[in-house]
């Protein structure tokens, strides 16, 4: 029996990857929840907007690299490209809002119509991304790959089991934390942030109080652009960039937002981690963990894997269904859908 080895295995294969993945989902879900509470519709273009923004970051990264400007071999160059990606996406989202959503706001269209419109935006954005950068996988990660590798950890600790922390994972977790803190500071401490919450709470009274809804909408898109580009870049650094993967992120991101409670920022974050840890936990082969945890001779024969990794979206779907049946408002009592 060797609980320490078991814990290290678990940390290496489940906890760290899930924590990083959960952070990426949380940032995405925050955007979804903000759009839902301010513009009052489910933003189906979220995954493809994320892909498009990440594409801008990749092009900028390549340009920086060829100009000889890099992260000095330590940090990924892409981090410097994020502001450019955010700026581009602010413009893109505001133009889309002007061309598409504003009209539906003016005619006070039903939420379902907004959803369909965002579906259209999704297809167009997806097409643009594929037109520019193609559908194949792109890696744009550079700089130091590991904070510490499996071998370094073994040598340092003298243990049999290895533990690695990739730079992309550490950066993801740290960056996500900073972005979340900044967002919460904005929402609870600034007048603009409070006016967003007020508008989300009670649209009519916000109008009556002199809050300009169009301004609130613009601020929302700017924040969404920042969240989406950051999340997309972190995901790409961690797992590589393929547009189809970003489209598929839509399901876990929505699941995260709904599980946490649509409209609740805290809920989006918690939901992100719930979805990530469930996906990882259920598709992980627990055999090694249990062979360490159980007494000699009781080690399991099978893989102890509940579902193959290919079925990770089934996990997300199951969580979504369970939440919608038993607690439709989510963990933090968001708006019921």
């Amino acid at each position: 029996m060797d609980p320490l080895s078991a814990l290290i295995t678990l940390t290496n294969f489940v906890l760290i990857p899930a924590f990083a993945y959960g952070s990426q989902l949380a940032l995405g879900a925050l955007g979804i929840t903000l759009i839902y509470s301010i513009l009052r519709f489910s933003h189906f273009a979220h995954g493809d907007i994320m892909a498009f923004g990440t594409m801008v970051v990749i092009y900028t990264t390549w340009a920086l690299q060829s100009a000889g400007i890099t992260g000095g071999g330590v940090l990924p160059t892409a981090l410097m490209a994020i502001p450019v990606g955010i700026a581009a996406m602010v413009v893109y989202l505001l133009v889309v809002d002007r061309l598409v959503y504003r009209y539906f706001r003016q005619v006070k269209a039903k939420p379902l119509i907004f959803v369909m419109a965002s579906l259209g935006v999704m297809f167009v954005t997806n097409g643009l991304t594929r037109l520019f950068i193609g559908t194949s996988e792109r890696r744009f990660e550079d700089g130091q790959r590991f904070i510490f590798s499996v071998r370094e950890f073994r040598e340092w600790s003298g243990l049999a089991e290895g533990l690695a922390l990739r730079s992309a994972q550490a950066i993801t977790i740290l960056a996500a934390l900073l972005v979340m803190l900044a967002l919460f500071w904005f929402l609870t401490r600034t007048k603009s942030g409070k006016s967003m919450r007020a508008y989300s709470d009670n649209e009519d009274l916000a109008l009556l109080s002199g809050i300009n809804p169009e301004r609130v909408v613009v601020i929302t898109w700017v924040i969404v652009a920042a969240l989406v580009v950051t999340a997309g870049t972190l995901y790409g650094l961690d797992k590589g960039f393929r547009p189809i993967n970003y489209f598929q992120l839509l399901l876990p991101m929505f699941a995260a937002a709904i599980v946490g409670g649509l409209g609740s920022p805290i809920g989006a974050i918690v939901g992100g981690y719930v979805v990530a840890f469930s996906e990882m936990g259920i598709t992980y082969a627990w055999r090694r963990f249990f062979s360490h945890m159980l007494p000699e001779g009781m080690a399991p024969d099978g893989m102890m894997q509940l579902l193959p990794v290919d079925y990770k979206f089934a996990v997300t779907f199951a969580i979504l269904v369970i939440v919608l049946i038993f607690r439709p408002t989510g963990i933090f009592r968001g708006k019921s859908i």
Partner: protein, 236 residues
């Protein structure tokens, strides 16, 4: 005779479709409380909304301090000095009491702490609960938040749409006391009330409306003493 501070004069109109108000006049004088009472569906709230610009008037006009404001949007009327507390949905439930007051003062760019202190002095319970989400408060406390929010713009006239709807009789008495206190600070108050008797007791002026028309208009005391009004609207 001097013009009333706020007057909706000969108002006719509705929410599109048939007219709800017919030649209806509502007004409030400086330093007074005016109350609109009447049976259900008489158009009391509609009359108040008309004064606030929330429905299109076909005829008639609204004047504030002598100036015609008939063409102004509700938001512009807030800037012009009118405070309005809707009957429902009058707070930001997920925000704290303090944030509710802050949002009330959204159009102000100057220091609002003094006004906030005045509101807290008027409604001491709000000072105790300033960090609590307004949606978690009791019905009476919520109404205080709602009135407090409207006071944050330092309005020159305050309009309340059934401030005591859905609260217990004890809380209702307390709310009326608070409203009198607000009036004593010099802000004229125009309000719609279901509880006609209590409302007329504190009113300087009462408007009894029936089917979108003025039926009786007099001082609160006179209306309470009028046998016709008593029989028809106050239950004898």
């Amino acid at each position: 005779m001097a013009d009333p501070y706020l007057i909706g004069e000969d108002m006719t109109g509705g929410y599109g479709g048939a007219d709800i108000l017919h030649d209806c006049t509502i007004s409030v004088e400086r330093g007074e409380i005016a109350v609109i009472v009447g049976p259900n569906g008489a158009g009391k709230s509609t009359a108040m909304k008309a004064v606030f610009g929330m429905l299109q008037l076909r005829e008639g006009r609204v004047r504030l301090d002598g100036a015609d404001i008939s063409h102004l949007s509700p938001q512009a009327r807030v800037r012009a000095g009118m405070g309005f507390v809707p009957q429902t949905g009058n707070i930001f439930p997920s925000m704290t009491v303090e944030e509710n007051l802050e949002m009330g003062a959204f159009i102000r760019d100057d220091d609002i702490s003094e006004t906030r202190e005045q509101v807290f002095d008027l409604f001491p319970i709000l000072r105790d609960k300033r960090r609590q989400a307004a949606g978690e408060l009791s019905g009476g406390q919520r109404q205080q938040v709602a009135v407090g929010r409207a006071l944050m713009t330092k309005p020159k006239v305050l309009m309340l749409d059934e401030p005591t709807a859905g609260v217990s009789p004890i809380v209702m008495d307390e709310l009326f006391d608070r409203i009198i206190e607000v009036a004593r600070t010099g802000i004229p108050i125009l309000m719609v009330e279901q509880n006609a008797r209590q409302a007329l007791e504190i009113a300087d002026k009462g408007f009894v409306m029936v089917q979108g028309r003025n039926r009786y208009t007099d001082t609160g005391k006179a209306l309470l003493a009028d046998p016709d009004v008593r029989k028809s609207f106050l239950g004898g």
